[in-house]
C-alpha cells in the first residue's frame, strides 16, 4: 500500500521522531472520511468501547457477555513528510455517544479540523465546544457541498460564535489540494499558537 507499512518512519539514526497527530472532527456526514481519503490512503482503526456507562466498573468478561461493548471504526491516515516526520490523521467518531474516545485521541494532538456542513451547522457545535474547552488549536473547514447555499466564512464564524483567532476556511473535501490546504491552515494556526505561547512563557 502506498502509505502503509512503517519503513519510512523512525529509521533516522540519532534523531527523535516527530509525530503530528491531527483530529478530523465534525458531525456525522460532514465529510471527515472524504477529507482524509483525499490526502492519503485511508485505513480503518477499530476500537472496542462500552456502549454506555453500564460497562464501567463491571467485570470485563461479564461486560462482553452482556454485549455492553461495541466496535467503533475510525478513519486513520498517515502522511510521511520525511523520515522521522509523520502526520497522523484520525477521524473522530461523529456521534456524541462515542465521545469517551476523544480524550485519548486528543491527548498530545497538535490540533483539529472541524468540518462544518452549512445545512446542519449545529452538528459541529459539540466539536467546537470540546476543542475550545481543551484549548486545542482548531480550524473550522466549511465543506461546500453541491447544492448547498454558500455562506461567507464570516457568517459561519458568527453563527458558531468563534474566537476571532480561529481560522475559518472554505473547502471541497473531495479535492486533494483543497483538503491539503485545510491541513496547512491548521498547522500554520497551531504554529502561531505555539509561538505565541512560547513568547508568553506558557504552554499553548
Amino acid at each position: 500500500m502506498a502509505s502503509g507499512g512503517s519503513e519510512a518512519y523512525g529509521r533516522g539514526p540519532g534523531e527523535a521522531p516527530v509525530a503530528i497527530k491531527i483530529l478530523i472532527a465534525g458531525g456525522f456526514g460532514a465529510g471527515k472520511t472524504t477529507l482524509v481519503s483525499a490526502v492519503t490512503e485511508i485505513r480503518a482503526l477499530r476500537t472496542e468501547e462500552p456502549l454506555s456507562g453500564l460497562g464501567a466498573g463491571m467485570d470485563s468478561l461479564d461486560g462482553v457477555e452482556q454485549k455492553t461493548m461495541t466496535t467503533v471504526a475510525m478513519d486513520f491516515g498517515r502522511i510521511t513528510i520525511r523520515d522521522n516526520l509523520v502526520i497522523y490523521l484520525f477521524g473522530t467518531p461523529g456521534q456524541e455517544r462515542f465521545w469517551f474516545m476523544w480524550d485519548e485521541l486528543a491527548s498530545g494532538a497538535l490540533g483539529a479540523v472541524v468540518l462544518a456542513d452549512t445545512r446542519r451547522l449545529a452538528d459541529c457545535f459539540p466539536s467546537v465546544d470540546f476543542f475550545e474547552r481543551r484549548r486545542l488549536p482548531f480550524v473550522v473547514a466549511v465543506n461546500c457541498f453541491e447544492g448547498a447555499r454558500r455562506y461567507r466564512p464570516e457568517d459561519v464564524r458568527s453563527a458558531l460564535d468563534l474566537d476571532p483567532e480561529v481560522p475559518v476556511v472554505l473547502c471541497d473535501a473531495r479535492q486533494r489540494s483543497s483538503a491539503r490546504d485545510v491541513l496547512i491552515a491548521l498547522i500554520e494556526h497551531a504554529h502561531w499558537r505555539l509561538q505565541r505561547a512560547r513568547a508568553a512563557g506558557t504552554h499553548a
Partner: protein, 123 residues
C-alpha cells in the same frame, strides 16, 4: 436483535468479543501506550513463547522495524484497546521498546511545523 441493541447504526460496527484474545482484560498493565507511539521489537533476545498468543508473536514480527500503535492495530485488524494490552504484555517481558514521539508542546523548535506545512504543499 435485542431491544437495547436497536439503536446501533452504521457507525457502530458489529458487537464482537475481541477481548477473548486478552483473556478478558480490558486495561493494559502500566502506562497506556499512545496511539502514535513507536514500537520496536528488541533484537537478539530469545523469545520464550510460553504464555504468548499468536497475536503477540504477530505483533513482534510486525514491529521489527519501528511501527506506530495505530498502524499495528490497522494491520492486525484488532481493536486498539486489545493491541495496547498485548503490547503492554510484550513490554513487561522486555521484548519491545516503546518510544513516545515528541509532542507538539515539547517541540524544541516550533519551526518544524513550517517544514510540515511546506512538505504538505509539495504533496
Amino acid at each position: 436483535m435485542a431491544k437495547e441493541d436497536q439503536w446501533l447504526d452504521e457507525e457502530a460496527g458489529p458487537v464482537v468479543r475481541p477481548y477473548a484474545v486478552t483473556r478478558g482484560r480490558t486495561r493494559p498493565t502500566g502506562e497506556v501506550i499512545d496511539l502514535i507511539a513507536l514500537v520496536t521489537a528488541v533484537r537478539g533476545v530469545e523469545v520464550d513463547t510460553v504464555g504468548l498468543d499468536p497475536e503477540h508473536l504477530a505483533l513482534l514480527r510486525m514491529c521489527r522495524l519501528p511501527a506506530s500503535v495505530a498502524d499495528l492495530a490497522a494491520d492486525l485488524d484488532l481493536p486498539l484497546g486489545v493491541i495496547q494490552i498485548l503490547l503492554a504484555d510484550l513490554r513487561a517481558r522486555s521484548l519491545i521498546s516503546v518510544h513516545h514521539p515528541t509532542l507538539p508542546a515539547q517541540l524544541p523548535d516550533p519551526r518544524i511545523l513550517k517544514e510540515v506545512a511546506d512538505g504538505l504543499r509539495r504533496l
